[in-house]
Symmetry: C2
Subunit: 228 residues, 2 copies
Amino acid sequence: MSKKTPVKRARAKQRRLSPEDRRQEFVAKATEFFAEEGFGGGTRALAHRLGVTQPLLYRYFPSKDDLIKEVYRTVYLEPFGDGWEKLLGDRTRPLRERLKEFYQAYTGVIFSRKWLRIYFYSGLKGLEINRSYVGIVRDKILSRIIRECRHEAGLPAQGKPGAAELEMAWVFHSGIFYYGVRKFIYEAPVLESKEQMISDAVDAFLAGFAQVFGEKEGARKLAVRAAV
Amino acid sequence: MSKKTPVKRARAKQRRLSPEDRRQEFVAKATEFFAEEGFGGGTRALAHRLGVTQPLLYRYFPSKDDLIKEVYRTVYLEPFGDGWEKLLGDRTRPLRERLKEFYQAYTGVIFSRKWLRIYFYSGLKGLEINRSYVGIVRDKILSRIIRECRHEAGLPAQGKPGAAELEMAWVFHSGIFYYGVRKFIYEAPVLESKEQMISDAVDAFLAGFAQVFGEKEGARKLAVRAAV
DNA sequence: AACCCTGTTTATCGCTTGATCACTAATTAA
DNA sequence: TTAATTAGTGATCAAGCGATAAACAGGGTT
């Protein structure tokens, strides 16, 4: 390459965005960048990707760490709508149907290279935000699922789900979750139809839950209902 | 702190190990170090942890990357004994029992902070070794499990497991795997008894597999799937 | 004693990193 | 038009990185 050319750079003639918009644009692209490179990725490489010079980042964010924190915020807060709890708890519809629909929607949001990689990078860092996310999944999703399963199986409702029930829901949930990990992080071949994977997983979970926790009657009811 | 003290360091009076042993000692401690810090951890910090100076590492390993590769080797090759395939295929015992025993043993090896963290760090790097590990799990463990399930359910044996069956085994396997992730990476509370978690997961899986792929339910299952 | 071999340290090199400062170009307000 | 404000750049700093070279220390052999 020739030496640094002092050519007056033709500044891109882009419309100037409002400061807040530009900032958010930076955060969005930084998210993609860090998802690929990990948080060890350099600010220079990031700036290059944004098409600006490195010091400019420091006009918008006090430090690299602050930028990273904003990346976390957007990634973690993005997915959680409040419709999901209602969907799971809507007893006018069969639980099986609710579960399948919920996991279609949920995985529709989190199954992306970007989301999953940021999730694991922050998890390995041992960040608080990650731990709190696990808590949210447990309280807003899994506990609700357990409650609905108990109801469906004709078991007495009780305030908090038991530890063993909760664990079983975790195993179920994680099994589905890991489909995305295998596909987007390991880039391993997976069953083409996500829909079928979820459908089978839900069917197996309901049968398994009835088998392990159901009363004899409840279990049979679940099995029969499944078959019909 | 005062300026660098040129005090002649009292060399530690440790027994001199053979070069090969010393090397392995380095690799072992480096594994723990990288498990905590990630592979971005510095060679100086690592050397400090080993109680030696940084350049000494380069007498034992040509570069940091070579050291890391050896870390991978030990971590990935450590677990796989050949007894596991035999255990899974031993038809003199009930499949349920075999599965529970296998997963007790398997998780006994990989459920550690060290193993899991190295696993994810290398996974995020997109390393070949990681992908090959996924292949090994699929071919040596999950395919075998499917075969045994088919046999148990009285289904005709066929060479390769179907994609949907394999996926279901993945969901099951991952569910168990993620118990370790939650415990050692997220450091989230889990069911105290790993044994019960595995036992319930296996019971649920067998019930679920029969439900989804079993012969008797086959026709009805198809109807249900068509209706969804 | 002299020598060599090997494990180890000190000092240092070139490069990259996150961050800062002074300056210029572009936009807005008067 | 001119002044003020904002967006963006080039040069540079101190610290940290991986890696290298040369000197040193201690035991074993002759």
